[in-house]
Symmetry: D2
Subunit: 358 residues, 4 copies
């Protein structure tokens, strides 16, 4: 009889509950890891609310830190007991999408196709990380050993938040001397701010409505902060840039209002790098878009995964280039994950990210 | 007293008329060229209809072939009597926009700014090419000598049509082995088709509603043609690509319907390269956009100008890589330009482009 | 007792012989394919001569076309009996090198390292393709189904020759309107010529000493041919380009003389894309290198592998963009492979490539 | 009669002397600036020693900070009295080289050519900056206003040192998480170290033989320093990187030994970004080059110029991202420039850069 474990599962809309599930069987390419720390993502809240559909009974969560419990028979290059993380996105490495430089859109293995968001499997199409154990598919592509000396919390942002946030700056192709605006300073926006700084932007303007978040934005590298609630951010950013606009604007919320403001402050020839998850059709305002003649680029990014990405992000942390410490504001035992969801989904008590430990 | 010339000017909405204007004075950085052949662009029709505002009395047109009549006092490297073209877009070369790789969005010279479409001056902010003489600003940046052996009509598509069309494929970063769909096969779409072929796409799908245009699309390099009127192009393209979609889709019309179809056939991770001039806000459908998580890129391009661009395009023609001959369907004297507008603006008689000769 | 097969093995310097070896066992990630056609590469001749060391008894060859005989237990997405090719380079897909965009330099799996040429395994570090059966490692990353209607010989150049040749143009970042020189028109140089054409170069200058090869170069897309033996190629190319030099030069031989000429004809700011395998230290002449101030790029490429690359190359052939037919000049049975080596290694009888069929 | 000024001129090998020359006439595209601060470059020492030939009587120097004294008749967008800098390289903006993205290799204006280092004019082909006045050609392309609040010394490194140093990291395409080695920590190497840090490298290894320079390297962003004299830098860097080598190595000296070490520590697929000015043919060691099969890139960069580049570099300084203060170690009046050369050319007294004020 299978051994059992605790797991936070999607029961029905507005109900994620802790339940008992069997510890998974390990296939030849898999690894089983014992979770030591995980966290809750905004996407999980969409799942909780029934806005993003997943199967009933699915274990939620996609941000694992843990210890290798068991390796699949075909897995080489790791040892049991090793501390590892895996990205939120776990591409196979061998799909045509992966081989095309599009690993997050990992497609069916049998043909040359792509599957939208196909690389996002944890807590989406397979059981996720908010549990005592997690089965990691295509382990050789996805397991990244944690460097000695880093705590679980120090690497907890790597699987999703840091990877996604940085990709906002990377897809925007931030260059030395750029002016960058980042719309929304939740965990991902804060990491986008840090990423813009890390890539050499010289003027970084962080936008949000919450003073505490704007204060943290300054710690992450923002030169200016703009309160979206108190002022018109478009006017304010144009004023700060002497009418010129920004080279790169990063959208990190997923709303029409921020998308639109991000386009309106963008100089001709600039790039709007979008990280937000939208919930309705987007409108591109004709004027800000120069009727299609502004040499603009709009680019979207899904969290880059894979062990090499994770290795690099942990290097960023290990060398002190970026400190994600301020992002972890609350801590819960896995047993209390329902309370964690209540806090996080209502954005109470200044929460940014919670650390959940089985 | 200034010598006079004939010029097609914007008189008022729905009236472009031939009138007498003084031959322009030549400033130190300018060149005066005597037009030998020019043409009418779709944009000129927007001007004619009053949809795109220009000053009353402005000479229209931005596609010049001619002979250098007089050089400005500071212009070196050319001689009077030389046959030249200039791009539709005439960047200064020395604005910060130019130095940023964004020459079409040439900004004010005095600060580090960008001006939307600032590089488009002919027939927009200064007198244009549908006249006996044309003043070319920043001549050293913009005059491109015509190689021996090429006729006026052979190079007539270079200033705008070929440059814009190719930029659709270039901004889409077409690679060897790509599948590319091109929406609309007017002159620019046909050149986008040719550009995709020239860059190594192996499956090119041309979409239009006019059978004659689809026939020319095949001559320009399309492997498949799809009649937008007769079939659902999204379904048809997904069928042709075995459900996979295209790597790059090029929009060359400027309508919501084509923009939307171009996005719907795009694989995750693909690029929508937009050339169209839109006349209203665009809508991005949530599903085709994967809610912002599809690693999509949407890029717009304004016609690249400058003499090096023109030199390269004329090389494409001179070496027979692309034959733009089929695009010139009608010929008019400048004296008959009002008739040319009547034909062209109503898309009568299978017109693609007209050659107008003073 | 293991079933036996015929295989061409490296016995000792100057002796590759046909011998009997056991048909390999199939591991969980492997596939066994029955070879239907293979060929001999210049690299195999280096092995034959003892210039490139491999283990005694190793089966030689890295260009397989065949039929899946047996799939490993963890391999999904294929079926036995399917016609496939695999690239000469068979990256794992999951090494950090692969995840870094450097799949040919596939490194050890256990750490973040790279191994020079680590992706080249067939006929180098594991048994190769000149045999009745071939074991393909990491099959899901490497097996590419052959499209219906293509013959073995039509796809025989894809695993190495076409992939390497095209990479010369790709790594050179050939753009529309470029002038490209290709030094040496052996099979790889001829495919580099074809690749430059496919990517939009408008002037392609092919250099070799053999008139027959120069004649084929014209069929593959060269605009000009230069006989290295009869004229000074540097002078001739500078004459053809009106003193300007070339935007991209491709070295496809591996000698100091061609490397040096490729640099000497390169314009400042241009790219020397090197495909050759050198056998001694290279010298960069100070003058042609502008003492390090010429904004030059020198880039080397090892044959890109993986099933997506193979898929795209077969598309190039299937759509008739490039015809590699002229490259297969001779045919041998596997039983006669020693004769094939004698012909090929001595470059007798105008040989370009041989087709070898078990 | 022309007014006279003091200027440091090349008299003959080993003699740069202060002399009287006429203040230059201002052509239509020029600007005359009154130098307030300038400096001496390693290249000037090559000129001094007669190793790099310039015309006798030429004013030396290419790093100007000053005040606009007079504008050419065709120059718009500036005003007399404005504080400005100009890059060491002063491209025209309108040559085909400029329009090709190769402005430093600015070619003849009359054809589509490139001229090696053609953009370097100050103190090379026209009179330079070590004088009371400097004539800046193509002023609209090259004059960059100094932001309020920055001192002359703060921007003195922008025209050459910072621009060249950063280009080492930029041409190397440093990415977040890269390991970078920088060979030689003279002024340019120190700025390459700073540039690698600014672009997101997480491990930066600075190599030199002078302890003081290694100490400053740490202040500029180096994580590790290696004494080329005391240890074998190749072994030490391989040790520091756990055998993996570096993603990008930057050569900033111009010697065979550093070039070779830079290649030997480079991982397969990595980029050697070369900034040094070499004085003899370079040798590429076969092994480190993987016989041409290592997917290596070797790229050289000449100092990027133009006003947009200068604007961005001054932003880097103004925002405190990089502090070039430690680089200015000595100060001289223009009248004492011969003493400055004596100190600088002999690298006495720990000199890095001198500030020279007329």
């Amino acid at each position: 009889m299978a051994k059992m474990m605790k797991a936070a599962i999607f029961a029905e809309a507005n109900r994620i509950v802790l339940d008992d599930k069997p510890i998974p069987e390990v296939g030849p390419l898999d690894a089983l890891i014992r979770i030591t720390t995980t966290t809750i993502c905004g996407t999980d809240v969409h799942i909780l609310k029934g806005e993003y559909p997943v199967a009933r009974g699915l274990t939620v969560g996609h941000e694992p830190v843990g210890i290798i419990e068991k390796l699949g028979s075909a897995v080489e290059g790791y040892r049991e007991g090793q501390r590892v993380i895996a990205g939120a996105i776990t591409p196979s490495g061998y799909s045509n999408a992966c081989l095309c430089g599009c690993a997050s859109q990992d497609g069916p293995r049998t043909r040359h196709g792509f599957k939208p968001m196909g690389g996002w499997r944890f807590g989406n199409t397979i059981d996720g990380a908010q549990a005592e154990y997690l089965l990691v598919p295509d382990a050789m592509n996805n397991l990244a050993p944690v460097p000695d000396g880093l705590t679980d919390e120090q690497v907890l942002m790597c699987p999703d938040i840091l990877s996604t946030g940085f990709s906002g700056a990377e897809s925007g192709k931030v260059r030395i001397g750029d002016v960058v605006a980042v719309f929304a300073q939740g965990p991902i926006g804060l990491c986008a701010t840090a990423g813009a700084r890390l890539m050499g932007a010289t003027t970084i303007i962080a936008v949000d409505t919450v003073p505490e978040r704007l204060a943290i934005a300054r710690r992450m590298g923002a030169d200016h902060v703009v309160d979206f609630g108190a002022t018109d951010p478009v006017e304010e950013i144009l004023r700060l840039t002497d009418g010129r606009g920004v080279d790169v604007s990063i959208e990190a919320l997923g709303r029409q209002s921020t998308f639109e403001a991000a386009l309106k402050v963008l100089r001709p020839g600039g790039t709007l790098s979008s990280l937000g998850v939208y919930s309705e059709d987007l409108r591109i305002p004709l004027g800000a878009f120069c009727a299609g003649l502004g040499d603009h680029t709009i680019v979207t990014s899904l969290c880059p995964g894979g062990k090499e990405r994770m290795r690099r992000l942990m290097e960023v942390v290990a060398t002190g280039r970026v400190d994600t410490g301020p992002l972890v504001t609350h801590r819960f035992a896995l047993d209390d994950i329902e309370a964690a969801y209540a806090l996080f989904s209502n954005q109470r008590d200044g929460v940014l990210k919670v650390a959940v430990t089985p």
